[in-house]
């Protein structure tokens, strides 16, 4: 068990890392006691997007598959949650709606992934097919404004977006405010730990091996396609989780959450953070979402310019990602200080190399 938490695939090991982890977690848990309710809600909102970022990190950084269409699964699950929540009635059934919506995203990922991976699509073409899929979905949903587009009482409602679904609830109590925040924190912890364990398991070993050299992996007796599909489905399920949570959070979703600018966002988060490490993606995406909102509030017209500059600076100065770059520095220092477990340093630097797909 513990071995899976601290393996070759993930940065951050041992006592120091996990104490930091626990401190951050503890701070996150007592945060609502000190912050005003708006900030707590706002933090839950940021956390919604982290799942999609982690999923993309798994697919792109570890699996070597750059999907440009994570919003496809975000949208399927987001709309799925809406349709299910409206049709099944509110209350505790919303939790079932959430689970089913994620399952829908997984099924969609299974079908699209089978189609692409068994067809031998890779590299940039993988990105283009996923992007096309998400654009088709956005176009389709955009033209469902007419009253004939409904599933049960749920109107898809075109570009204006679908609304009227309940937020997540237990019985008659809506999960909102601090409760929602704690649910989000718990989910993040579960997903993060789960992905860490997956990546450091045998399966994770194979996932990175497939990224490095699919042919060699095949020659070691692994059916590469199955591992790629698995990675794709898990990554997409996480995008789906973000989608369903988003719909439940705002009780609203529109096709623009699926279209082109939205589709590019997760790539920015993950690229900025450092695609080859989960922790970096987690931390970086959160910081970026936070920073970008702050920039947009205080310097509106400059926001997009700053974001463009940030992207440019990332690839020119720290191609492996800013957060990861800093993390690497810290790790080097630390291990350097303590005589240096060369193996660990080597292994870490290994994964920090910019790896192209």
């Amino acid at each position: 068990m513990l071995k899976l938490l601290d393996g070759a695939q993930t940065l951050g090991k041992g006592w120091t890392f996990w104490s930091c982890f626990l401190i951050v977690l503890a701070a996150a848990l007592i945060y609502p006691a000190f912050a005003d309710s708006y900030d707590v809600g706002n933090f839950s909102y940021f956390l919604i997007w982290i799942f999609m970022a982690l999923g993309l990190c798994l697919m792109w950084g570890y699996g070597g598959m750059l999907s440009f269409g994570q919003t496809f699964f975000f949208g399927i699950s987001g709309y799925g949650y809406g349709v299910l929540a409206i049709n099944m009635g509110g209350g505790s059934t919303t939790i079932a709606a959430l689970a089913l919506a994620v399952v829908m995203a997984m099924i969609a990922a299974g079908i699209l992934g089978y189609f692409m991976i068994w067809g031998g699509i890779n590299g940039i073409f993988f990105g283009i097919v996923t992007l096309s899929a998400t654009l088709v979905l956005a176009f389709f949903l955009g033209q469902t404004a007419g009253p004939e587009w409904h599933i049960g009482p749920a109107r898809l409602n075109g570009f204006n977006g679908m609304k009227g679904m309940d937020p997540l609830a237990v019985g008659d109590t809506y999960i909102e405010g601090s409760a929602l925040y704690y649910v989000m924190v718990a989910l993040i912890v579960v997903v993060y730990i789960g992905l860490r364990m997956l990546l450091n398991s045998r399966i994770g070993n194979v996932i990175v091996a497939v990224r490095e050299n699919p042919q060699r992996a095949e020659m070691l007796g692994y059916d590469v396609r199955k591992y790629q599909l698995l990675t794709f489905v898990i990554g997409s399920a996480l995008a789906g989780l973000s989608g369903a949570l988003y719909t439940s959070w705002g009780q609203f979703i529109t096709p623009s959450s699926i279209g082109l600018p939205a589709a590019a966002m997760p790539i920015v988060w993950v690229a900025f953070s450092g695609r080859s490490d989960l922790t970096a993606t987690l931390v970086g995406s959160f910081l970026l979402l936070f920073a970008f909102q702050t920039i947009t509030v205080y310097s509106q017209q400059m926001a997009l310019i700053l974001m463009g500059g940030l992207l440019l600076a990332t690839v020119m100065l720290a191609p492996q990602g800013f957060v990861l770059g800093i993390g690497k520095l810290v790790v080097d220092r630390w291990t350097g200080h303590r005589r240096g477990d060369t193996n660990a340093v080597m292994a870490d630097t290994a994964r920090l190399q910019s790896d192209e797909t």
Binding site: D36, S37, Y38, D39, G41, N42, Y45, F139, G142, Q143, A145, G146, P147, N157, G158, F159, N160, G161, K163, Y246, G250, Q251, F252, T254, S256, S257, P261, A262, Q293, T296, V297, Q300, Q301, A303, L304
Partner: protein, 412 residues
């Protein structure tokens, strides 16, 4: 005994004094106006005048002593055309900045994105665009023109002047779909014929096929409710292909100032009904335009959204001053009297108690070959009647829904 008396009077005095101080400091505290307008991204073209209109009104109101003696503070956030960010920022304005009123939203989608959030608070919300109509929601006051003010005037006039056959080019989203629905309904009542309807996805910029479809269908005139910079390319391309048909619209000229952006004669023969367009030539309007251009000399055109945004603040001022309160329920009591009116540059504008939409003075304008704008007909003030007729009555119940000719309230 005596000392106790003195003590208690002194205490009372202190308490009264503090209370007075609190109330004066409350009065000095500015009223907060939350504004959500796109000034970057695809809709910046139309969003910028909206921000300017609000800024102008705030400056004027503050100069003349504020609202109920309180200065007003404008907190503007730019959601950059992103619905998720609209929601994010609406929450921020409502629960962190605790604004007294929320104004803004550009597309219907952005309005629908923030309406559920506003509905859970007791903050009033002003939507300042002309739109497809039908929102029946007690928290929302609509300042723009709606179909019964625009289509019910424009379409009969077009039919009478040019003929009974119309071809519709509409943006493929709710605004276009619902507007087309209105057109169908009105054309049917008039005994006209819709010879073609084409819904165009947002972002499409090439129209050769559309132009030929139109020529095949041989309409007498075109209803153009295409939206966005890309789709506006239709006019240039239709002119180049010498399509040469009369056109009518509810959004062209006064909103997107296409006649200023395109080289003549692309917009020749365009007709629209509007409560505002910059070419209105009345003393009130001219005075307003002068003030606007003095503050924003680079403004290409004062569009109708910007104008409505300006009016929204004066309407809010009027409501608060009549109600002597900023609370939504008190403002709605004023609205319920039917006396919530302001003297706007177009003429008098009043809020209809049943639907909380505004009456407007509507004029039908046409665009000539040199893109000069002429007023063809003045309809006087038109009330927003449709929502009331189909059963929306916000003085009795809050539906929080949006109705269309094919989605009517359940009769109970």
């Amino acid at each position: 005994m005596k000392s106790a008396y003195w003590l208690s009077t002194a205490l009372l005095g202190v308490m009264l004094g503090t209370a007075a101080m609190v109330s004066t400091s409350r009065a000095a505290e500015p009223l907060k106006i939350g504004l959500l307008e796109d000034v970057s991204g695809d809709l910046a073209l139309m969003g910028m005048p909206k921000l300017h209109g609000s800024e102008l009104a705030v400056e004027e109101i503050n100069k003349s002593g504020g609202i109920l003696g309180r200065q007003i503070e404008l907190i503007h956030l730019d959601p950059q055309g992103d619905n998720a960010r609209y929601q994010e920022f609406a929450r921020r304005l409502l629960s962190r900045d605790k604004v007294d009123v929320l104004i803004g939203g550009i597309t219907s989608a952005s309005r629908e994105a923030i309406r559920p959030i506003i509905d859970r608070t007791t903050t009033p919300y002003f939507y300042t665009n002309q739109y497809e109509g039908g929102v029946c929601d007690a928290s929302m006051i609509s300042m723009g023109a709606i179909p019964e003010q625009q289509f019910s005037t424009l379409i009969p006039w077009m039919v009478e002047k040019f003929g009974k056959k119309v071809y519709v080019i509409a943006a493929d989203y709710n605004f276009g779909q619902i507007s087309a629905e209105w057109n169908r309904k009105i054309m049917k009542d008039l005994g006209g014929e819709v010879v073609g309807e084409e819904f165009i996805p947002l972002g499409i910029s090439q129209f050769a096929q559309t132009i030929q479809n139109i020529q095949k269908a041989k309409p007498d005139w075109l209803l153009t409710i295409n939206v966005g910079a890309a789709q506006d390319s239709f006019f240039e391309q239709a002119a180049a292909a010498n399509l040469n048909l009369p056109m009518g619209s509810s959004i062209k000229v006064m909103l997107g100032f296409e006649h200023k952006r395109f080289k003549p004669p692309a917009l020749n023969n365009m007709h629209a009904t509007a409560n505002w367009f910059e070419e209105i030539d009345t003393p009130e309007a001219n005075d307003f335009k002068k003030r606007w251009h003095a503050k924003f000399p680079d403004e290409t055109y004062i569009n109708d959204m910007g104008y409505n945004a300006y009016n929204a603040l004066y309407m809010y001022k009027a409501l608060v001053e009549k109600a002597k309160s900023t609370k939504l329920e008190d403002l709605r009591k004023v609205i319920a009297t039917g006396q919530a009116c302001i003297d706007a540059p177009e003429g008098q504008v009043c809020i209809d108690p049943k639907s909380q939409h505004t009456s407007h003075r509507m004029r039908l304008i046409s665009v000539g070959p040199q893109h000069q704008v002429t007023v063809e007909k003045d309809y006087g003030t038109i009330q927003p009647y449709w929502l009331g007729e189909i059963g929306c009555d916000l003085t009795k119940k809050n539906d929080k829904d949006q109705y269309t000719p094919s989605h009517l309230p359940n009769k109970s």
